[in-house]
Symmetry: C2
Subunit: 378 residues, 2 copies
């Protein structure tokens, strides 16, 4: 647990959230190693030799922390950093991943803009990411909504990216269940992107939170969407992909979930639907589990032995419980005209003694009737 | 390899195929241990003490081998036994399974009735079972047909149960590809069951074979369907289930495939479709592999490193090949009005040197253009 940051450190991180690209691995590492205040000081003094640092230094004067804070305040947004009460501890896994693999794809964030009444730390202890295609089908949106309602009612926070299609269907499902949900944006917290989901994003702030790593004013770019995906994966115990074409960004979120040791799940669809082809490729990987409803998602995310989903069995017929020999006897009993025990035994190819006993059992189960020593179906 | 059976032994097996229930584990074992001729002799002499043996003995006089042979001949069917040139060696795995597990569900068959021009032994060296629900949807029948066409064109024999729905769609697919297919019936070889598939079953005999373990005249009962399923699984390298409700018999075939160390595959469908719910439950088991087309089935059934299916990738965009930083640079280039290298570097948050190099690469890829030192999208 990091110590609580003072006001100077907090302002320095806000400054850097504008000067550096969100998730920039070098920036994230330097802030962790030296504190943002020290980094800003060294940038300003020009004592960091790298070309990248020089570039950041050049941009320092253009970043106006007070203007960013005013923009955030206008949206009732705040900036949280590691050490704050509502900072989600699970994001630390991004740091662990970076250290263990040496991969420089993206760093653990050094701060986040959040907007809404929810406590991101509490919300992310039991969260599931439900993500998928923007160009979703009615089937995908229906399933995503159902999954989200069930997961939310089961006590899980639904995390997604606020985008059109599957994302917003998932958020709407959680809202329909009157439960908090978390939207992680690729651009600034003051840009409720996409515009068409503005109302849903506003409603999310009532119980949940909208989150952004980029500074206020930042536009959502393609690279920022990809970088953003690691936060969706890290904030959840698992990621469910509902509809994804072969190159869907949601598969990138699933990869992050796998890399961070989260559960990876997918909802199948028709193999004739392009919108499901990416999910099917995902489900051919050993780490991914096929899920068909919220109960199976919850089972996957619950500690071993808890949250078990009932195995789907369909309607139970007494016949299905019979062993093969009793089934043979039942098969040998005629529908209309009665047959003697001897004749049933003959047709069934079983011994007389065996058949006598099994016919009595079948009669007790109501599967056969006997009249004047002749057996028939009821 | 068993020695070739003489005429007496063959007649004894035909006799037993009528007297004993198809696949009866005790009968199969006794025939293997003593020969059918010896077993019939002992049954007739009454020297076998078990109640079951007494029952078989009682039925001996009612079985007319010559009548059965005449019925078979009328249908151009023949009886094959282990040791015959066209006896499929793979059925020996049923014996191995029985010996290794001690399970008495069903034995390895001691003979089969076959009808058609195909050589069952040759056909079963490269075979795939395509099975599924009788009450299939148009989606399921379409996919089963496509799979069967592709598998057949890929050199695989399609094995199925000749039933309505998925089974017959699979047989029809193989026939459409002008390739042999194998139908394994639950009743006698003289009963082309179900009636509605009579024409397809006839066409199967032209290049392939129709197979039955039960004696001519036997009706297909529920227990015989379940027993029959082990032959479908054993005759193939793997079983693909296309549509199955939660209690579909095709899941029983998949279990046999698993028990016999065959590949178990399933084709997903909408989670909202009851006809796919059994397949989805199957695909949640670790042994089952999700497949979406014939290429993936063939890959699964081919020796490691051969028959590889192309991983589905969708259309390739040059942008998707870029690393994250080049993508950042591309994101920073304006659409219409040109921007200086310095301005692009500022927006991208990268160093001038880095951006100069990346812009040149992007230009070479045709993703950006430069005019009088100003960069824009083409």
């Amino acid at each position: 647990m990091s110590p609580r940051a003072d006001a100077g450190e907090r302002r320095a991180r806000i400054l850097l959230s504008r000067v550096c690209e969100p998730g920039d691995a070098d920036a994230c590492r330097l802030v962790r190693a030296h504190s943002a205040a020290a980094l800003v000081e060294r940038l300003a003094a020009g004592t960091l030799p790298s070309a990248k640092a020089q570039d950041w230094a050049e941009r320092l004067p253009t970043a106006d922390v007070d203007a960013m804070l005013r923009a955030a305040e206008h949206e009732a947004a705040r900036y949280i950093v590691p050490g704050d009460a509502d900072w989600p501890a699970c994001l630390g896994d991004l740091e662990v991943f970076e250290e263990e693999t040496g991969e420089r794809r993206a760093g653990a964030p050094f701060g986040l803009w959040v907007r809404g009444h929810g406590d991101l730390s509490a919300l992310s202890t039991h969260a599931v990411a439900v993500v998928g295609a923007r160009a979703a089908t009615a089937y995908g949106e229906h399933v995503a909504g159902d999954l989200a309602i069930g997961a939310a009612q089961g006590g899980f926070t639904v995390v997604s990216g606020g985008a059109y299609g599957i994302d917003v269907a998932a958020h709407r499902g959680a809202l329909a269940a009157d439960r908090p949900t978390v939207a992680v944006l690729a651009g600034g917290i003051d840009r409720m992107y996409p515009q068409g989901n503005k109302d849903v994003l506003r409603r999310i702030t009532e119980l949940g939170v909208v989150v952004a790593e980029a500074a206020p004013g930042c536009v959502p770019t393609k690279s920022r969407f990809l970088i953003r995906n690691r936060l969706i994966a890290a904030l959840s115990l698992g990621t469910v992909v509902v509809e994804a074409a072969l190159r869907s960004g949601s598969l990138n979120t699933a990869r992050w979930a796998r890399d961070l040791n989260r559960q990876v799940m997918g909802v199948p669809g028709p193999v004739t639907s392009r919108s499901s082809s990416g999910v099917h490729q995902l489900l051919r990987q050993p780490e991914a589990v096929l899920v068909t409803d919220a109960a199976e998602v919850i089972e996957q995310l619950s500690p071993a032995g808890t949250g078990l989903a009932a195995v789907k069995r369909g309607p139970v017929h007494i016949q299905d419980q019979l062993d093969l020999r009793s089934l043979q006897v039942l098969d040998a009993v005629p529908k209309h005209s009665g047959a003697t025990t001897r004749s049933v035994a003959g047709v069934a190819g079983l011994t007389h003694t065996d058949v006598v006993q099994r016919l009595a059992e079948l009669r007790d189960l109501g599967l056969v009737v006997v009249e004047e020593g002749r057996w028939r179906l009821p």
